[in-house]
Symmetry: C2
Subunit: 444 residues, 2 copies
C-alpha cells in the first residue's frame, strides 16, 4: 500500500511511531498527483518543492508521539481555490484574480497549519464557488463525468487518493454533492463554527466551510482540531440504539433511480442492524425552504459580486452579473420573508430531535454524477439543509448503473456536530459495506 492510500488516521499513527515521515507521505501524494492529475485535473496549484520543504521542517521537530496540540502533524490537505493561502495564489478560478497572492492564510488554513498539517495545494472550483466557469476537474471513476461542484477538485482529489483531506465549501450543495459523486465522506459543520474568514463569500447566510476524507475517523480527527461543538450527549453506541428518520424531503420528485436505491438500501441495512427506521416527513413550512434559499442566494450574491460588477463587468460571468442585477426580482419584502421562514424553521427542526428521532437519513444528490463537465449536477437535495445551518455528513453507499458512486447524507440538529460524527461512525460500517457493489442488484 502506498502512503497516499492511507487514511489520515492510519498515516498519523505511523508518523507518531516514526514508521513514516511527513516527507514520505507528501512525496507519495505528489507522485499520485503526477500520475493521475493529467486525467483528473483536481489541482490548480501545487508547488512540490515547497511542499517537500514544509514536510521536512515538520520532520525536524521532536518526534511528535501523540501531541494533542498538533493532531494533524504531517497530514496533507488540499484547499479549494476560493480559500486564501499565504504562500500560494488564490484565483477563485476567475479571470478577475489571476495569480493573486494574499500573503495571509484563511482561518481554516491557519487552524490546519497550527495543528501540524501540510497544505499540499489549491484545488479547482466553479468560479467563485458560485457561477461562471466550471472546474476542469473530472470524476476519478470516469473522467467523462463531473466530480460535482463547486468543490470539484477537492472532492476528486480525496476520492482519487491525492490527499486524505481537502476543504470544500457549501452555499447550495457544493460540498456534500462532490462527496457523493466521488465515493467519499464529508462533513458540512453547523453554520459558523468553522470560521469562513479568508474564504470568498457568496452568501453571508449560507456559506459554510467543510472537509472531505475517506472515512469517518478522519472526519473526526479534523473535527477535534477545529473544536467542533460538543453537546452534552455524545454518541458512542451502535446502530441498534438509534432512531433514524428517512426523509425523502420536499424535493423528492428530483430523485433518480440510483439515488432512490441508495436511500432505500441504506435504510434497509440500518433496519437489519437493529436501528428503528421510520419515514420522516417535515412540517409544511419546510416545503418552502427551497424557494427561500434561492431568494437568499440571489440577493446576497448580488451584494457579494457588486465590486466585480463595477470594476470588471466585461469579464464577470453573466450569471453573477444577473445576481447583481437581481434578475430573479427578489423584493426587499420577499427577501425578509425568506429570512423569517428560515429563521423560524431552524429551532423547529432542532426540537424534532431527542424525542423519537436521533438522526435524519436523506439523499445527498439525485443519483450518479452527470456526464460532461458543463454541469456539476443539481444542488436540490442539499440547499434546504444549508439554509437550516445544520451539520450534515455524507456517507457512500455503492455504485449506480453507470458504475459511479452514490451516497446518502445524515443530518442532525445545529451544534450537534460531534454527536453526529459519533452516529456516522456507528452507521458507516453498516451503510458503506461494499462500496463497489451495484446498488440495484443489492436492493431489488
Amino acid at each position: 500500500m502506498e502512503p497516499c492510500q492511507l487514511s489520515a488516521t492510519q498515516a498519523a499513527s505511523l508518523i507518531q511511531q516514526r514508521k513514516l515521515s511527513a516527507e514520505e507521505l507528501v512525496r507519495s501524494c505528489l507522485a499520485r498527483i503526477e500520475a493521475r492529475d493529467p486525467t483528473v485535473r483536481a489541482w490548480l496549484h501545487v508547488d512540490p518543492a515547497m511542499v517537500i520543504r514544509n514536510a521536512r521542517e515538520l520532520d525536524k521537530l521532536a518526534p511528535p508521539g501523540v501531541n494533542p496540540k498538533t493532531p494533524l502533524h504531517g497530514i496533507p490537505w488540499g484547499a479549494k481555490d476560493i480559500i486564501d493561502t499565504a504562500d500560494m495564489p488564490t484565483t477563485h478560478n476567475s479571470p478577475i484574480y489571476p495569480g493573486v497572492r494574499t500573503n495571509r492564510d484563511a482561518a481554516c488554513i491557519g487552524v490546519v497549519r497550527a495543528s501540524g498539517g501540510v497544505i499540499l495545494g489549491k484545488t479547482d472550483t466553479v468560479e467563485f464557488a458560485s457561477g461562471g466557469r466550471k472546474a476542469l476537474s473530472r470524476n476519478p471513476y470516469n473522467p467523462a463525468h463531473t466530480p460535482g461542484g463547486s468543490s470539484s477538485g477537492s472532492g476528486a482529489a480525496v476520492g482519487d487518493f491525492h490527499v486524505p483531506f481537502a476543504f470544500g465549501t457549501q452555499t447550495g450543495g457544493s460540498h456534500i454533492r462532490p462527496a457523493a459523486f466521488n465515493g467519499i465522506y464529508a462533513i458540512k459543520p453547523t453554520w459558523g463554527v468553522v470560521s469562513r474568514e479568508g474564504v470568498r463569500m457568496s452568501s453571508m447566510t449560507l456559506d459554510t466551510v467543510g472537509w472531505y476524507a475517506r472515512c469517518v475517523d478522519d472526519l473526526m480527527m479534523a473535527a477535534e482540531a477545529f473544536r467542533l461543538p460538543k453537546t452534552t450527549e455524545p454518541f458512542n453506541a451502535g446502530p441498534e440504539s438509534l432512531r433514524v428518520g428517512v426523509c425523502r424531503s420536499p424535493v423528492w420528485s428530483a430523485i433518480e433511480p440510483a439515488g432512490a436505491d441508495a436511500l432505500a438500501l441504506a435504510a434497509k441495512r440500518l433496519g437489519d442492524a437493529g436501528a428503528i427506521v421510520e419515514e420522516f416527513i417535515l412540517p409544511d413550512p419546510f416545503n418552502h425552504l427551497h424557494d427561500a434559499h434561492a431568494d437568499i442566494v440571489q440577493t446576497e450574491g448580488g451584494w457579494s459580486f457588486l465590486p466585480e460588477y463595477l470594476s470588471s463587468y466585461g469579464i464577470l460571468a453573466p450569471d453573477l452579473r444577473d445576481k447583481v442585477e437581481n434578475l430573479r426580482g427578489v423584493t426587499p419584502e420577499k427577501l425578509l420573508a425568506s429570512y423569517t421562514l428560515a429563521d423560524s424553521c431552524r429551532p423547529v427542526f432542532d426540537r424534532l430531535f431527542g424525542r423519537g428521532l436521533d438522526v435524519i437519513l436523506t439523499p445527498s444528490a439525485p443519483g450518479e454524477a452527470p456526464e460532461g463537465l458543463h454541469t456539476t449536477g443539481s444542488a436540490i437535495f442539499q440547499s434546504m439543509w444549508t439554509l437550516l445551518h445544520v451539520p450534515c455528513v455524507a456517507i457512500p453507499v455503492g455504485r449506480g448503473p453507470k458504475g459511479l458512486p452514490v451516497g446518502i447524507q445524515i443530518v442532525g440538529p445545529r451544534m450537534s456536530d460531534t454527536r453526529l460524527l459519533g452516529i456516522a461512525r456507528a452507521l458507516a460500517p453498516v451503510i458503506d459495506t461494499d462500496p463497489q457493489a451495484p446498488l440495484r442488484e443489492l436492493w431489488h
Copy 2:
C-alpha cells in the same frame, strides 16, 4: 475654506465643474493630516506619494461631469485597518499581522475605487475591532479623551476634517459610537447589504460595514454607490409628516445626563418642527437582546480567533483568548436560544413600522466621550440594534458639559436604508441646528 473642509457632495460638485481637481483635494487632506495627526493620531498608514499619484490618474480621465458610474470621482476615503487594501498593509492593529499586504481589496474598498474614490490610508482601530490593544487615536475635540472605538481613527479622521468619508465596522457599537463622540454622521446599513468580504471577521451574525461623513447628503452619495436597498416607500417630505418613537431602550439605566439631554432636546426639536413624537417601549422579549448579543459575540468570537489562538497564543490579547476558551461559559443550547430570540425579534421589529411609527429616535451612547485612551466608551446603546440587523443613522445634537459632542441615532426596519436616509435628511436640519451649543442650557 480649505478643500479638506468641504463635504463630499460639495467637493464632488466642484470637481465635476473642474473648479477643483482630485489632486488638490487629496493634497489638502494630506496637509490637514500632516498638521493635525501628531495630535489626533487617526492614521496607521498613509502613503502621500501614492495617493497623489492615484488622484492625478483620476484627473487625467475625461472631465467627468456627472458620471453616474463614478459618483465618488476624486473623493478621498479612510479605511479602518481591519479592511484589506491591495496597495497598503492591513495590520488589524495586531502584533500578529505586522505590515501584511493582501494584494486584494476588500469588497467595500473595491466599490469605492470602482466608483472613482481615492483610498487615502488606513485608520487606527481597536485590535481586530474586537479586543486587546486600543487605538492611539484621540478625540479631535479634546485629545485627552477617546474618539470612541473600535473605529477610533475613522471617526476621528472624519470629525477632524482629514477626509470626508471613512469606513467603520460595528459588531457591538463600534461604528455609531465614534460618530457620536466625534460630532459626525454615520450609517450602519442593514446587515449584509454591504459585503464584508475582506474585512476581519469577529462575528458572522453581527459584523457590519458602514461609513462616516459630515452630513446626510454625503451618507446618501455613498449609499447610491453601494446600492443600498430601496423600499417601495421613499421619503422626501418634511419632519411634520413623521411619527417618531422615542425609545429610551431597555438599557436606559446606563444613560448619563448629557445623553439624556441630547435625546430630550432632539425629541423636543422634532416636536416643535411638527413631527408626532411619542415615547416608544419595545415589547418584553427585546429586554433580553443585550444578553443574547453578549452570548453571540463571545461564541462567534471564539470561532473567529481560533487560528490566532493556536498559532500565536503568546501575543493574542487575553480577552480574545477568553473568547476561544469560552470564559462566559455559553453552552450550545444557550447560544441557540440567543439566536432564536434575535431571529424572532427581527420580524416583530420590522412590523412595528408603517402603522403609527416611521422612525425610532434613541441614544447612540451614554453621553460624552470618556477621558483617557484606556477605554473607548460603552457599546450598551448600540448592541441591540446591531443584533436586530437594522439600519441606524447617527446624527449630532450638541455639546455636553465637557464641551464634547453628543448625538442620537435614528433606526428603521431592515432593508429601509434609503428611506431612513431620506428621513435623516429631513430630521438633521432640525436636530443638528447648533452643534457647538451646550445641550444643558438649551434643554433645561
